[in-house]
């Protein structure tokens, strides 16, 4: 029988020799051009990294093509980044240009470094998950097609991290992104009274609701949803399959802005609601693409160098953000969950717009 609990392969065997030699002894780096990092060791060694975009959803044949490239140019050493890009690791400066040439010939976008828009962290969507309110890969493709030049050029005030999650579970961890695309439902779940008694535990189902909208109906061994208290998070569906919530006409996408993760300059911040709802309009989600593009452009035009989207908004104020982007402010932007009072303006300090 197969061995269990062996854990992943030891990463050390996958480190190229130059990294093994300079492990923990790098002195500095430079971005020599978009997508190309140059790391210099204390001993003068130089490592080049060429970063290319990936659709993340990869076929094995495509992976083999990537392996071919890595073998030709990098002695077979490569890595993936925490945002799903591919990085070719080269000890030999002379191979950098030829690699890039071949990459470009094969339509691999080279970029994603520095003050650019790098790959979008995203999720499964209609490709594999059971709870999505939108697709993942489709909107990502449509958005990145539009923002392509910002991947290959470092022409923004600072890093812009865009992420997508197809439901409120937020597997794409969009809660701290410069721009977050979040699939949302807008109608309450519809308990299937015939199936529910067999497939769901009542107490768990009731407890799953963050707003207490679910009441157990002991007599019928099912549950009732108080539609007024339901904000369509879908958590009840996660724990109880007999409470479907997807709704083609009312599911869609919300847009969030101003989050960040790094501790650089400002502390990490949550993303905040910018646009409560845009329709699911496959295959290219034009409303979503336009909205994201607008935000990026307004940011690029107004922010100062090194200023992340959220830092810029904090400096100029949210009222200014809404004015400049032309996004409508609605009652949905005003929090009404448990920490709502912390977000209300408790000062006369504000701008007119």
């Amino acid at each position: 029988m197969a061995k269990t609990d062996i854990g992943p392969p030891d990463y050390k065997q996958f480190l190229p020799p130059i990294i093994r030699d300079n492990y923990g002894k790098w002195r500095y780096h430079e971005i020599v051009r978009p997508g190309v990092l140059k790391h210099v060791g204390e001993n003068g060694d130089v490592l080049y990294t060429v970063r290319v975009a990936s659709p993340r959803l990869l076929s094995t044949d495509h992976i083999r093509e990537i392996c071919d490239l890595a073998e030709t140019y990098c002695d077979g050493f490569l890595r993936f980044t925490s945002r799903h890009n591919i990085e070719f690791l080269l000890a030999d400066e002379h191979r950098v240009a030829p690699l890039i040439e071949e990459l470009q010939a094969k339509n691999y976008p080279v970029g994603g470094t520095g003050h650019s828009i790098t790959n979008m962290v995203h999720t499964q969507g209609w490709v594999h998950c059971h709870t999505p309110a939108t697709d993942a890969s489709g909107p990502v493709k449509a958005i990145m097609d539009e923002l392509y030049d910002h991947f290959t050029h470092m022409d923004l005030p600072a890093h812009v991290r865009i992420s997508l999650a197809c439901c409120l579970n937020m597997c794409g961890a969009v809660h701290c992104s410069d721009i977050a695309i979040l699939g949302i439902h807008r109608t309450p779940p519809r308990p299937d009274n015939s199936r529910l008694p067999n497939v769901c535990e009542l107490p768990t189902t009731v407890a799953s609701c963050p707003t207490g909208a679910i009441r157990a109906d002991m007599k019928n061994k099912t549950v009732q949803v108080n539609d007024e208290k339901c904000m369509y998070c879908g958590n009840c569906y996660t724990v109880c399959p007999a409470m479907p919530i997807a709704d083609p006409d009312n599911d869609g996408i919300s847009i969030w802005v101003g989050g960040k993760v790094s501790n650089a300059r400002s502390a990490p911040m949550f993303s905040k609601l910018a646009i409560p709802f845009l329709p699911n309009n496959p295959p290219r989600w034009p409303e979503v693409v336009a909205a994201v593009k607008n935000i990026v452009e307004v940011y690029a035009a107004h922010a100062r160098k090194h200023e992340r989207l959220g830092e810029w908004i904090e400096r100029v104020g949210w009222e200014r953000f809404f004015t400049l982007t032309g996004i409508a402010f609605t009652d949905k932007h005003i929090d009404d969950f448990t920490l709502a009072t912390e977000t209300f303006r408790t000062t006369t300090q504000f701008k007119w717009g």
Partner: protein, 399 residues
């Protein structure tokens, strides 16, 4: 062209960004499951709704996690994705590969699955996307043979991840890769056999830039930092200035603690390190001139998570500074105490952060044996609803 069965998805083959549709089509040439995935996805694009059923419980022998069960809700139309489970393969720490290992993964997946993958999932696993129930065990056996193991899912420890750290970054204050790898190896049992109230995630970033989003996306975040003075190379500082960097505007003015002074006159940079909060900004802008201080270790934070159920949380500092050297005993002991307390007190589907919030930080600190320090808070409490421990109260009989 006109008789494509997937006119909507075809639209997503256009444009400069790499197309996932092309990937699926490529796999579909060999794999009926990939072909049916494509067709079902086209239907979703038409219907604007997913066509997967709520996942069932499937897995491999001896493990409770690592596989996400998935079934089509239209097996009549798409029989080849009637079952379409994913396997989460624990990635090599730092997502480093040599091509032979990657090729082995591909071969195994061509043998057992759809030929489609995610490199990688957002927790970090190499995701093998779509196979049948029958293939799970044989696929696992082949993976194990090739030196791979599954990652976490369900109420288990999830596959830990780490930033590239000392392997390729001048700022690494801890060995993020080794810590992550040791944690992964030490805690194998927790990864494979769900035993907790809910999921538990560990991520390691070797500096405050947090390139794996540890603070936002893990229940336990290990963040490299330093004590003492930033190492300044005055000649390189001047070189940056000479090269046109506006040190006052781009560095000093953006320092969150305003603890840096650049004198244009004598071209020197002074850092009041006592005020520095090690945000990394100045090092980021001048990597050649500034380096982290020499006494290095990590800050430990807990509680980060996405919104379900009580709302998103960013992680909270619980240990401002811990030296981290192999075998990381202090760290692993602390993790064990934290998990024990959570395991004992947590309700089903209650993440660590939510439990601390429900019971109160003071109970957590007491249980895991950590002292309260001001670094734990943005500011002290504003409400007067303060609890005292019984032993702090004057026991004289109250009349």
């Amino acid at each position: 062209m006109t008789d494509s069965k997937t006119p909507l998805l075809d639209e997503l083959e256009k444009g400069p960004w790499p197309s996932f549709v092309k990937e699926i089509k490529q796999a579909a040439e060999k794999k009926p499951a990939a072909a049916d995935l494509l067709n079902q996805l086209e239907l979703s694009y038409k219907d604007r709704i997913g066509h997967w059923k709520h996942g069932g419980i499937v897995g491999v022998k001896g493990y409770g996690s690592g596989v996400i069960g998935r079934y089509s809700d239209r097996p009549d139309l798409f029989p080849n994705v009637q079952a379409f489970h994913t396997m989460r393969v624990n990635h090599p720490t730092g997502w480093f590969y040599k091509t032979d290992a990657l090729r082995k993964l591909c071969d195994i997946w061509d043998k057992h699955g759809s030929g489609l993958t995610n490199l990688h999932g957002s927790t970090g696993d190499a995701i093998l996307l779509g196979t049948t129930t029958e293939h799970l065990q044989p696929c696992f056996d082949d993976l194990s043979e090739a030196g791979f193991d599954l990652g976490g899912s369900g109420s288990a420890l999830r596959t830990p991840s780490a930033c590239v750290g000392p392997a390729r970054c001048e700022w690494a204050c801890i060995d993020s890769l080794d810590i992550c790898y040791q944690a992964t190896m030490t805690l194998q049992d927790q990864i494979h056999r769900p035993m907790f109230p809910y999921k538990f995630k560990i991520k390691v970033s070797a500096c405050a830039n947090d390139c794996v989003s540890a603070i936002a996306r893990s229940d336990l975040a290990i963040m490299g930092t330093w004590k003492g003075r930033i190492q300044v190379d005055p000649a390189e500082v001047r070189a940056y200035a000479d090269a046109g960097l506006d040190i006052r505007g781009e560095v000093c003015d953006l320092c969150p603690t305003k603890c840096m002074e650049w004198s244009e006159a004598d071209r020197t940079l002074v850092i009041h390190d006592g005020d520095c909060n090690r945000c990394m900004h100045c090092l980021n802008v001048m990597p050649k001139a500034l380096r982290p201080g020499k006494e290095r270790g990590a800050s430990i934070l807990v509680g980060g998570k996405a919104p379900i159920v009580q709302g998103s949380l960013l992680s909270w500092v619980i240990v401002p500074f811990m030296k981290l050297e192999p075998p990381y005993t202090e760290l692993f002991d602390l993790i064990a105490r934290i998990q024990d307390w959570w395991d004992e007190n947590g309700r089903s589907r209650e993440r660590l952060g939510e439990l601390i919030n429900r019971l109160g930080m003071r109970h957590f600190l007491k249980a895991v044996g950590l002292p309260a320090v001001p670094q734990m808070v943005k500011h002290p409490r504003t409400n007067p609803y303060v609890f005292f421990w019984p032993e702090e109260i004057d026991k004289k009989e109250v009349k």
